[in-house]
């Protein structure tokens, strides 16, 4: 237990913040997708940290991490596909140009 629990948790929070920032500021859909993945990874860090520090004999947190990674991959696949179709149809990847639907 050389590293205090606060360190990895701070890292997780920081990563979540960076991901959020990216998701909110980037206009390129792919970058936003990547930022969201960053947020998920922040959660993963949290989960693993908690698992290791709080319940060392219980792997539920790590199990969840595995699932999150899997789901994130699926999500990314679907997301990229959607962005691809969009790009093919309208030749844009900037989401601030996608405003047909509003009001």
């Amino acid at each position: 237990m050389a590293i205090p629990i606060l360190y990895p948790l701070t890292l997780g929070a920081f990563l979540f913040g960076v991901g959020l920032y990216g998701a909110l500021t980037k206009t390129n859909a792919i970058r936003i997708l990547m930022s969201v993945e960053l947020m998920l990874n922040a959660v993963n860090i949290n989960l693993v940290t908690f698992s290791r520090y709080i319940t060392p004999n219980n792997y539920r947190g790590q199990i969840l991490t595995v699932f999150v990674m899997t789901v994130a991959a699926a999500e990314a696949a679907v997301g990229l596909a959607i962005i691809l179709v969009l790009g093919r149809n309208r030749n844009v990847v900037d989401i601030d140009k996608i405003t047909l639907l509003k009001g």
Binding site: G12, F16, G19, L20, A23, A29, I32, L33, V36, M39, L40, A42, V43, N46, L47, T49, F50, S51, I54, T55, N58, R60, G61, I63, L64, F67, V68, V71, A74, E75, V78, G79, A81, I82, I83, V85, L86, N89, R90, I95, I98, L100, L101, K102, G103
Partner: protein, 480 residues
């Protein structure tokens, strides 16, 4: 722990069905896929029959206690399967008309339903998350199923990006809960939290993250902003599904998670849901008044209905609270599907999806017009319909628990909602149609309208069995 497959029979059947459809789809030539509709429909009925064994045993759990089969989950499974069945029933000619990929549609629909069914049965954060994501990811694809339609693309990307972030937010909340309690199983979380720990500020933070995440999935204001765009852009049939399925799934997860996992902190989240309820009702109803696109209007209407449901969630610490939400979900599902069946008919086989397109529908197609009127009446909450019974139940649950003000807000909102439903009713009955040919809805759609009409009335006039069912199912079992 053994794996009791009888408890997961419907899920297993549904999974198998999805695979069967996938295979058959591959073997059928394009344009000749009508048989898929009936295979799916029959399969769903079989899945529904598969629930039977579970009803014969007392509430029990499987998969190491991660999933349970109890009255609550059975209720929701029946609900989800019914929704899927009705959607399938209405789908055939629509898919053909819009040139949607038939096989994919059914597979996605079945997968989403599967995800929702898991959500309702989950007793563990892990399975809740998995079920949620299964439902969500398939939904993103469904929203963008009209690949050539830029609006559909847009709906998909908006839904996806928002949904992905919401998942992250939810997960962050889940990770905090796990960190606090060291557990992912709801019953144990509930036990651990039932101490001093429940007063820690960090619990509040975790709750906020969870409420935001679930709030997004059920489209409660102020997490609703994606909803209208996704509803408008998505194919109408998919919108119909969105309006019912994912919401009900999220609601099921919320009910179980919060009443079992966070029962001890109920003092904190009830107020949160009350705020969400009020904001949703007002936002949904007031904004709906300004819509000219019926699908978009229905999106706002659905936001308002989530507000009504959240009134019940606010008092979900009591059995009537949970039961009222469940009953209202039932009524809501039936009347919303009915309404969307009409909207679908008018959109795909009639003039379109703008309010003005409904002019003179009463003479062009009396059944559709009267049906839609009945569903709207039910949505407003006027007897003798299921919507009234449901609202009445929510109302009385709120008043009984001292939330008279919430009931009053609900009453006011019911009245406001007349404003936009009226616009369409007026068009249908008083408006002058551009053309007077009758609107011919396909048999499947007509059947859905007829079935939902009957059930809507039944829920209003002969509600006892359903009320008893909901109440019996609302008593969530605790295993630890």
């Amino acid at each position: 722990m053994s794996f009791d497959y009888t408890l997961l029979l419907p899920e297993l059947i549904l999974t198998a069905l999805a695979l069967v459809v996938l295979v058959i789809d591959l073997s059928l030539a394009p344009g000749k896929k009508q048989s898929l509709t009936w295979i799916t429909f029959a399969g769903i009925l079989v899945a529904m029959a598969g629930i039977w064994p579970a009803t014969q045993t007392s509430a029990s759990q499987t998969l190491s206690g991660m999933v349970s089969s109890d009255g609550f989950s059975i209720f929701f499974k029946v609900l989800f399967l019914t929704v899927a069945a009705l959607i399938t029933l209405a789908s055939g000619p629509y898919l053909q008309q819009k040139r949607l990929p038939v096989g994919e549609f059914y597979i996605l629909l079945l997968s989403a339903t599967l995800g929702m069914m898991f959500m309702s049965g989950s007793r563990d954060l892990i399975t809740i998350y998995l079920g949620l994501e299964l439902a969500s990811i398939t939904s993103y694809i469904l929203a963008g199923l009209l690949r050539e339609d830029p609006k559909s693309n847009e709906a998909a990307i908006k839904y996806f990006l928002n949904g992905a972030m919401a998942s992250a937010v939810l997960l962050f909340g889940l990770s905090l809960v796990y960190g606090l309690t060291g557990e992912t199983h709801l019953d144990i979380i509930g036990k651990v939290l039932n101490g001093d720990i429940s007063h820690w500020p960090i619990v509040g933070v975790a709750l906020v993250f969870l409420v935001a995440g679930f709030g997004f999935k059920m489209a409660a204001a102020p997490f609703h902003l994606w909803t209208p765009d996704a509803y408008e852009g998505a194919p109408t049939l998919v919108t119909a599904f969105f309006a019912v399925g994912p919401k009900a799934g999220a609601m099921a997860a919320v009910l179980r998670a919060f009443t079992i996992g966070f029962a001890a902190s109920s003092g904190r989240w009830t107020e949160l849901f009350a705020i969400l309820a009020v904001v949703s009702m007002f936002f949904g109803n007031l904004t709906a008044l300004w819509q000219t696109n019926v699908k978009r209007m229905m999106a706002y209407s659905s936001i308002a209905h989530i507000g009504y449901l959240l009134v019940g969630v606010t008092v979900a610490t009591t059995v009537p609270g949970v039961a009222s939400v469940m009953f209202y979900l039932l009524a809501y599902a039936v009347m919303t599907l009915g309404a969307f069946a009409v909207i679908l008919a008018v959109d795909a086989f009639g003039p379109g999806d703008q309010v003005g397109n409904y002019a003179g529908l009463a003479t062009r197609s009396p059944l559709l017009a009267w049906g839609l009127t009945l569903f709207f009446v039910s949505m407003i909450g006027i007897p003798p319909t299921g919507g009234f019974m449901g609202k009445f139940y929510l109302f009385s649950a709120a008043v009984q628990n001292g939330y008279v003000w919430l009931a009053v807000v609900m009453a006011i909102n019911s009245a406001i909602s007349v404003g936009y439903y009226y616009g369409i009713v007026k068009e249908m009955f008083v408006g002058k149609p551009l053309e007077t040919t009758s609107v011919k809805a396909p048999a499947g759609v007509t059947a859905v309208v007829a079935i939902t009409m009957v059930v809507t009335l039944m829920l209003g006039l002969y509600a006892s069995p359903f009320l008893n069912w909901a109440t019996a199912a609302a008593a969530l079992p605790r295993f630890f």
